[in-house]
Amino acid sequence: MNSLDWIILLVTMVGIAIYGAWHTRHTDHLDTYMKASKTTKWGTIGISVMATQASAITFLSIPGQGFESGVGFVQNYFGLPLALIIVCAVFLPIYRKLGVYTAYEFLGKRFDAKTRLLGAGLFLLQRGLAAGVTIYAPAIILATVLDWRLDLTIIGTGLLVIVYTVTGGSEAVNLTQKWQMGIIFLGMITAFLILLARLPQGLGLGGALHVAGAMGKLQAVDFSTDPARRYTLWTGLLGGLFLSLSYFGTDQSQVQRYIGGAALREGRLGLMFNALFKIPMQFFILLLGALLFVFYQFQPAPVFYNRVEWQQHAAGSKGATFRAIDERNDALNQAKREKIEAWLAARNSGDLAEPAARAAMLEAAAASEKLREEARAALVKADPRAQTKDSDYVFIGFILEQIPHGVIGLLIAVMIAAALGSKAGELNALGTTTTIDLWRQFRPLAAHDEARNVRAAKWFTAFWGIIAIGFALFAGFSENLIEAINIIGSIFYGVVLGIFLVAFFLKQVGGTAVFWAAVISQSVIFALYLLRHAFPALDISYLWYNLIGCAACVILGLVLQVALDGASQSKGRPA
C-alpha cells in the first residue's frame, strides 16, 4: 500500500465512524438507542439488514470459497427468500404489535421468564462467539497487508467499532451502514471489472466461464440427495430455510434492524429487498472467486496463498523442502497452462480431440491440487500449529498484487467497512439483549429509568465488544471463516427457531414443556457436533442441525406438554 491507498482507507473508515458518532451523539432515548429513529424508511432498513449479514467475511472468504470449491455455496442461501416471506407475514407484525425491544421479550410474554432467559442466553452465547469470528476476519487482512501483529490488529479494529456503536446505538449503526454498503458495492464492482481486464487477451468472460465450468467451479445447483454433501439444492432449501428463518426471525442482530422504522410497511419492504437481491449478490461474489481461479491458471500462482506463512517457512531451517515444492509448482503450472490452452484451441475449433484435451487438462489440474495438499502437509510437518486453510487469502492476495494503487485502498476499505457494519449490528444487539432480557429482569425497578437503561446498554455493548476481541485473540479457526460462522449459528439456531415456532403456532404448548424440549434438543445438537468424528454416521452437513434442532424442539415440546397435561390430570383425579 502506498500513501494514496492510506489516504483513501483512513478517510473512508475513520470518516464514516466519526460521522456516525457525531450525528448520533445525543441519542439518549431508549427507543432511538435500541430501535433507531421512528422515521427510518425501508431503503435504510433493507441496507442495514444486508450490511449486518454481509460481514468482512462475505467479501474476504466467499471469493475464496468460489476459488476453492466453486459457486455451489450459493445454495446455502436458497432458503433465505422463503424465510424472509415468513418473517414478513408472521414474525414482524407480532413484534411491532407487542412493541418489544428484543425478540426474546416476546417469549416472556408468550411463555414465561425462564424460556425468555433461555432464548436470550442461547442468542448471547452463539452471537458472542460469532462476533469473535467477525472481528478476526478483517484483522487477518490488516495483519497481512501491514505486516502487523494479528493481536494488535484485532484490538485496534475492535475498539474502533466499539466507539461509535456505544455512542449512537442503533441509530449510529443504521447511519454508518448505509455509507459502508455504498463503499462495498463500489469496491466489489471495481474489483470484478479489473479482474476481467486482467484475464489473458482473447479469453474474455465467455472463455473464462468455460474454463471454470470445465474445471468444476460452476456447478451452482447440485441435485444430489447424499446427506454428507454440504451444499445441495435440498440442504439449501430445507437447512437454509431453517437457518435463515432463525437468523432473520429470532436473531436480535437482525430483528433490531427491522422492528423500528416509520411503519410495518418499511420493515417488510426492507426485508423483501433482501429476499430479491441476496442470492444474486452472493452469486456475483462467488463468481468473482471462480474467475480468480481461472485468472491464476494463466499466472504464476503460488502453491499456498497465505504467502506470509509460506515464506516464513521457506526462509526457515527446513526451507529446502518448501523451495523444492515451489519449483515443482512452477513446472506444474506451466504444464497446466499449456494443457488449458490446448483444450481451449480444440474446443474453439470443434476438434474431435477436445475430450482428450479436456481429460489432459483435468489431469494437470489434479496434479496441481495434489501438490497443494503436499504443501499443506509440509507446513504441518514443519509447524503442527500452522494454518493450512489458505482460501481466505486468495482475494486479498489478488488485490495487493494486481490492483492499481488507490483502488487497493478502496478495496481494503471495503473489507473494513463490512467488518465494522456487521460488528456494529452484533454489538448493538448483544448490548440491547443483555440490558432488556437480563439486566432488567434482575433490576425491575430500573426499567422505568430511561437514562439508566441507556447507560446500561452502552456499558453492555462495550462489554460484548471486549468479549469478542478476547475470543478473536484466543480462538483458532480451522474452517473457512464463512463456514465457521455458519457452523456456530447452525448449532444454536435450530433450537431457538423451534421455541419461536412453538410460540407462534402451537398455542397449547406452555413454557415448561418448551423450555425442557429446548434444553434436550440443544444437548442433542451439541452431541451430534462433538461426536461427528468418532461416529462417521453422525458426520452430516451442518445445515441439517437447523432442521434437526428445530424439529426436535417442536416435537419434544408437544410430547412433554401431553405428558405434563396427563400428570396434572391424574393429580387432580379423585383417589
Partner: protein, 48 residues
C-alpha cells in the same frame, strides 16, 4: 393463551405500484426466486 398470529386486519397496503396486497408482493418475490434457481441450474448445465 390467545394465539399471537396477526389478524389479517393488521395488514397494511404495501404501497408498491402494481401490488394491492402483501400476498401479491410475496408471490412476486417467490416467483423471482424460482426464476433465479432455474437460471442457475441452466447456467450450471451449460457450462459444466
Amino acid at each position: 393463551m390467545k394465539s399471537p398470529l396477526p389478524h389479517p386486519d393488521d395488514d397494511t397496503s404495501p404501497g408498491v405500484p402494481g401490488f394491492s396486497t402483501w400476498v401479491g408482493v410475496y408471490l412476486f418475490v417467490f416467483a423471482f426466486f424460482v426464476l433465479v434457481v432455474v437460471l442457475l441450474a441452466i447456467f450450471s448445465r451449460c457450462l459444466a
